[in-house]
């Protein structure tokens, strides 16, 4: 079921452009229907997934490396799978209307579906390597989606920032997961030995690396800066990736590994502290924004911080409840914001107003979602805020700090919710004039926001419908130690009899509304704090990027200075030094002299010819003569091959020399006559260097021959060539069978070299040469056009 669901999504992603080309209206609907079906499939399997240890499925991939396609569906992954499938289906449906006239609708649907496959794989994967692969795939698809409007520089910049930040985290996550696998003795998360991990020397490294990966992905302070910038993406992307699913991947991973890595002060305190800071800072920064999506983005940062904090505080129930509530209300609000901006062309909520009359359905959905976000009873947002406050108050160590932090962020969240979700519909626009409004949004744009808004109501009023089983399942997965948890989510019992949590919750509602009413005063009061932006982590990102570029250019200037002479000198000297050092340890001249006595007259003659050809090549005054001499060297070497019983090599050498000669002849017509450009001292230096190099290599070869060495691999090849490779020519059998992959790589290089020559000369020749590129069916007479 798990693998087939993934396969179906991947195939759908591949087919999406085709379907959208066949029919923009209906093809795109088919794409949107696929995740809906998968969501229903997962829902039907909920019974199995939520009981016991869940559904585990494994297929062999690279079993020798411990790499298997291991999937696991338990409460946590099931909840994520349902969110991905259902919100994903709704977002795809929304997209078919939102980008209806966009020329790249099919591409967008394809990448979005591909993202859903990656995200689904991430939450279902039990194997850590598999999880990492899907993790990186979500980063890449996110990059493509943020940069969807790649013609805008701002979008490209934001996409790169998100990719680099999450990519950095991805690398450290890979290291962390590998260490975790080593320490825990298993490559599957469910097979990790918690005791061994906790006692391992690697624990600190694992914890830091995993946290780094999760924090970058989930935009936790100090890596929160990329998420608001990612709002350059179209609204459907913001709703699906940057609020409901992808940014929660970090939260998911922390929750998933909390049973293994948690319970240690370092882990718990870091999560609680950084999560708490992000929660308050995000809520504060949200109110400093003036654009719908930016406000929602910072509020999402705050929510992600909240979730991480509760994982650190060991309050699985609070985290699970808020996760579900947040996915619903934030997904809805992002889509509403997208529709508002698209229909009115206005990004600032203060300039919107009175829209309830224009689109009552959208307005009611938006109001319900905003009220849920603010924490109004009887919606799920109220329940989750109560549960969170209770968890904060009940915490044994950080009761006061946690409660204060939750309350402050709750107050600011109320204000943000009213600004974004209520103001555009119920109040007058600040400009005083009526808002431009293109057309009422169609059913495709309304379906998901309405369903999410109703979901928030149902989850609050009747938790047993879906909220309670899912939250219970998540809690059992995050905190498996205890007995199966009994979760109470009845909103009436949370409201009455009132407790401290109730008073704080209602107080936050009231205070948040007051801040909303006096928001201009509030903004003026908090303005001076914007000076902090100058030293914020976003500056750190810019600085690091500039530093890397500078470092790269300095290093390139040193290592790749463009002088071929220096390159050759460095290469020769390096090889000569290394070989010479190795030789100096074991040099046996007597064995070499013994070898020298076996040299025949014929060999000496060939060597004399070789030396003569080489010497004359450096004495020539024209390039053509030099090349002829060099060819003489090559042909002599080919004769040596033939002499030593390597006809294949000799043949190839002859053919290569011939071709090289022809190619050189074509090239040298361009070269000027030799001139003395280098100083005499340098030429003497080069002469000495070449002499040292040649002498060292000769000594090396002699030493190798004199030593004899271990039994050669040639014997194996000779013995197996006919029986195993069906060929009497051992060289050829090695090339096409025993070592065929090497050959494949080599011919690939040859092909690239050919295309490289073609590309460089064509590009240099400029457009004129391209225009005159001869075609095969050209009918002009070719005879008579030869070279002079």
């Amino acid at each position: 079921m798990t693998a087939s669901a993934l396969a179906i999504l991947i195939v759908t992603a591949g087919l999406a452009p085709v379907l959208c080309r066949v029919s923009r209206r209906f093809g795109s609907l088919v794409v949107a229907a696929v995740p809906l079906g998968l969501g229903l499939w997962f829902a039907s399997a909920a019974g199995d997934a939520l009981t016991g240890t869940g559904i585990v499925q494994t297929w062999a991939w690279l079993p020798d490396l411990g790499l298997n396609l291991a999937f696991k569906v338990d409460g946590l992954s099931l909840t994520f799978a349902l969110l991905i499938c259902f919100i994903g289906a709704g977002v795809l449906l929304y997209t078919t209307s939102y980008l209806a006239d966009h020329p790249r609708l099919g591409y967008f649907m394809s990448v979005l579906t591909g993202f859903m496959a990656a995200m689904l794989g991430l939450v279902l994967a039990d194997n850590v390597i598999l999880l990492f692969v899907f993790w990186e795939l979500t980063s890449i698809t996110s990059f493509l989606l943020i940069g969807f409007d790649y013609e805008r520089e701002r979008a490209r910049w934001a996409a790169t920032q998100a990719l680099l930040t999450t990519g950095l985290g991805g690398l450290s996550l890979l290291a962390g997961l590998l260490l975790l696998g080593i320490a825990g003795g298993s490559w599957t998360i469910s097979g990790l030995d918690t005791q061994r991990v906790l006692e391992s020397d690697l624990y600190v490294a694992i914890a830091v690396l995993v946290m780094l990966g999760s924090f970058t992905k989930s935009a936790i302070f100090p890596f929160h800066y990329w998420l608001p910038n990612a709002m350059e993406a179209p609204s459907p992307v913001s709703a699906l990736l940057h609020s409901a699913t992808m940014v929660k991947a970090g939260v998911y991973l922390l929750a998933r590994l909390h049973p293994t890595l948690g319970g240690v002060p370092m882990w718990d305190n870091t999560l609680a502290l950084l999560g708490g800071v992000t929660m308050v800072a995000g809520a504060y920064l949200a109110l400093r924004q003036h654009q719908l999506k930016k406000i929602l983005a910072y509020s999402t940062v705050s929510s992600l911080g909240t979730l991480v904090m509760f994982i650190g505080l060991d309050a699985a129930k609070a985290a699970a409840t808020y996760l579900l509530a947040h996915a619903m209300f934030k997904g809805c609000l992002f889509l509403v914001a997208g529709t508002l901006t698209k229909m009115s062309g206005q990004k600032d909520p203060e300039k919107l107003g009175g829209l309830m009359a224009r689109s009552p359905i959208l307005g009611i959905a938006s109001l319900l979602a905003a009220l849920s976000m603010a924490g109004m009873f009887p919606l799920i947002g109220f329940v989750s805020k109560e549960v969170m406050l209770k968890a904060g108050i009940a915490h044994p160590e950080y009761s006061v700090a946690a409660t204060a932090g939750i309350t402050v962020s709750a107050v600011l969240t109320v204000t943000a919710a009213v600004i974004v979700g209520v103001r555009p519909f119920l109040l007058r626009p600040s400009t005083g004039t009526d808002v431009q409004w293109k057309a009422a949004p169609g059913w495709r744009q309304l379906t998901l926001p309405v369903i999410l808004a109703i979901g928030g109501v149902v989850a609050g009023l009747a938790p047993a419908a879906f909220a309670k089983p899912l939250i219970t399942g998540m809690v059992n997965a995050i905190d498996p130690a205890g007995v199966p948890h009994e979760i109470k989510l009845d909103w009436l019992k949370l409201l009455y009899p009132p407790t401290l949590a109730t008073y704080l919750s209602l107080g936050a509602l009231a205070l948040g509304t007051v801040i909303f009413l006096g928001r201009s005063t509030y903004r003026t009061l908090t303005a001076p704090a914007d000076a902090l932006n100058a030293v914020g982590p976003a500056r750190g990102y810019d600085g690091a990027l500039a530093g890397i570029t500078t470092l790269a250019s300095i290093q390139t200037r040193i290592v790749q200075n463009g002088s071929l002479q220096i390159y050759v000198r460095v290469m020769l000297l390096t090889v000569a030094t290394l070989v010479g050092l190795a030789l100096s340890r074991s040099l046996d001249f007597s064995a070499m002299l013994e070898l020298a006595r076996t040299v025949t007259t014929f060999e000496i003659m060939l060597l004399l010819a070789l030396t003569a050809a080489t010497l004359s090549s450096i004495l020539q005054k024209t390039a053509l003569a030099t090349i002829a001499c060099l060819s003489g060297v090559g042909f002599t070497i080919a004769m040596l091959f033939a002499l030593y019983g390597a006809p294949d090599l000799a043949m190839t050498q002859f053919a290569v020399e011939t071709l090289m000669l022809i190619i050189f002849v074509f090239v040298i017509f361009h070269l000027p006559k030799y001139r003395d450009l280098s100083r005499r001292a340098f030429r003497l230096l080069d002469f000495g260097l070449a002499g040292i190099f040649g002498f060292t290599i000769a000594l090396f070869v002699a030493a190798v021959l004199a030593t004899g060495g271990p039994p050669s691999i040639a014997d194996f090849h000779a013995a197996n060539s006919l029986s195993g490779g069906y060929g009497r020519n051992v060289v050829n059998v090695i090339l096409v069978d025993f070592r065929a992959i090497d050959t494949l790589g080599e011919i690939f290089v040859i092909g690239v070299a050919g295309i490289g020559v073609y590309t460089m000369l064509r590009l240099r020749a400029g457009p004129a040469a391209q225009a005159s590129e001869p075609s095969i069916d050209s009918s002009e007479p070719s005879v008579g056009e030869g070279t002079p």
Binding site: G727, N729, V731, V736, L744, I755, Y758, S772, I776, E785
Partner: protein, 146 residues
Amino acid sequence: MNSVIFRSSTIVLLPFMLVLSIVVLLRGHNEPGGGFVGGLLAASGFALHAMAFGHVSARKTLRIDPRVLIGLGLIIATISGLPAAFMGKAYLKGLWVELNAPGFPDPLKVGTPLAFDIGVYLLVLGAAFLMIVTLEEYRHDANTGS
């Protein structure tokens, strides 16, 4: 080159060199030879032709764009290893069948390494040809000042 002797002999030599290159390619598994040398031989033949009659004529004689040959050769070589991989053996391990062709005393052995070698042959021919012809075109363009 405007030598009549060179041109006339090239007309005769090219077909022979091509046939020879294929012989070398086919016999490579048991005697000295193979796809690499075969490809080089064929390319040398075309290089001769390019010297005698110019690059336009050489391209026309080859008929196929050398860039296509490079891709084709790489594809054939890559695919030739797949059957072994699908049969659970190492990728690119040679698989052989014996065909009883009428008129031949011995059964004819045909295997995936032959396909691999043909791929090598095509790629080497394409790459070498492309280099020679591109250089010749570049020289020609530079000389005519276009």
